[in-house]
């Protein structure tokens, strides 16, 4: 691995560690909370809103750091030959085959959860509650994803 790649990977790893740590704390604080449509028709407690905002922010940041920085770096360091026209979907398949990510399909769904945070239209309370509950589930999935990737990145840095 070149020094430049090592520096980038270390910085990205530290960035991801911070996002993951706060995301984990947020999920721990929420415990086994599930939201119902009634919770959303009344207003949520300000402390809960702050916690959910922070969770959504850290989920999005961890997703972005992994997708935009860590996954491309892993492919670079692994010196996988890639044509310039290789699509992101093909790169994901390659990462899955190398065992660097547990599932390309799960990654695509987590990406959609991240996009859903920025959904622009007002939703029905039932849908809002289901979206929030799916976000909590996805937070746990993203942390498991990160838990799979972290030792691989650490091993690369140690080599």
């Amino acid at each position: 691995m070149s020094d430049a790649h090592r520096l980038k990977m270390r910085a990205t790893l530290n960035e991801c560690l911070l996002h993951a740590e706060i995301l984990q704390q947020d999920l721990d604080e929420l415990g086994d909370t599930t939201f119902s449509p009634a919770d959303l028709e009344l207003s949520l407690a300000p402390a809960t809103v702050r916690l959910l905002d922070q969770l959504a922010y850290r989920f999005a940041k961890l997703q972005d750091s992994l997708g935009e920085k860590m996954l491309p770096l892993l492919l670079l360091v692994a010196e996988e030959p890639m044509a310039p026209t290789t699509t992101f979907a093909e790169k994901l398949q390659r990462l899955e085959r190398l065992g660097y990510i547990p599932s390309a399909e799960q990654w695509r769904l987590l990406r959609e959860v991240r996009n859903q945070i920025a959904h622009e239209y007002p939703e029905h309370p039932e849908i809002k509650a289901a979206v929030l509950n799916r976000l909590l589930q996805s937070g746990r999935e993203l942390l498991a994803f990160w838990g799979h990737l972290l030792p691989i990145a650490e091993r690369m840095l140690a080599d």
Binding site: P37, A89, E105, R108, L109, R111, E112, V113, N115, Q116, H119, E120, Y121, P122, E123, H124, P125, E126, I127, A129, A130, V131, N133, R134
Partner: protein, 102 residues
């Protein structure tokens, strides 16, 4: 309508796959206007599923559309409706009034 035949077919097929054979999908918003350029693809999908299943279906639906070469780089927004939902909202009335079934 500013969607190609291939885009329309891809959206129709994915709608049925994830929201059920009886589901419907309408296009509404700026992509209906031929005098404009660019803009999001705004879809209104109605399926006979409960809220949690609708949200899960939307994730899988969008993941498939975003992976389709004919929709690469498009921003797609999906408004959901189902008979299981308690009430209609303003967005339901607008999308049903102005939307065109794909």
């Amino acid at each position: 309508m500013r969607l190609s035949d291939r885009q329309r077919q891809t959206i129709r097929q994915a709608t049925r796959r994830y929201f059920g054979a009886e589901s419907t999908v309408l296009l509404f918003g700026s992509r209906l206007r031929d005098d404009l350029r660019g803009g999001d693809i705004d879809l209104y999908v109605e399926g006979n599923l409960d809220a949690a299943a609708l949200v899960e279906a939307r994730l899988r639906f969008l993941a498939e559309l975003h992976a389709a070469s004919c929709l690469e780089g498009e921003k797609i927004d999906v408004v959901l409706f189902s008979p299981h939902l308690a009430q209609q909202r303003e967005i339901d009335r607008i999308a049903r009034r102005d939307g065109v079934e794909l």
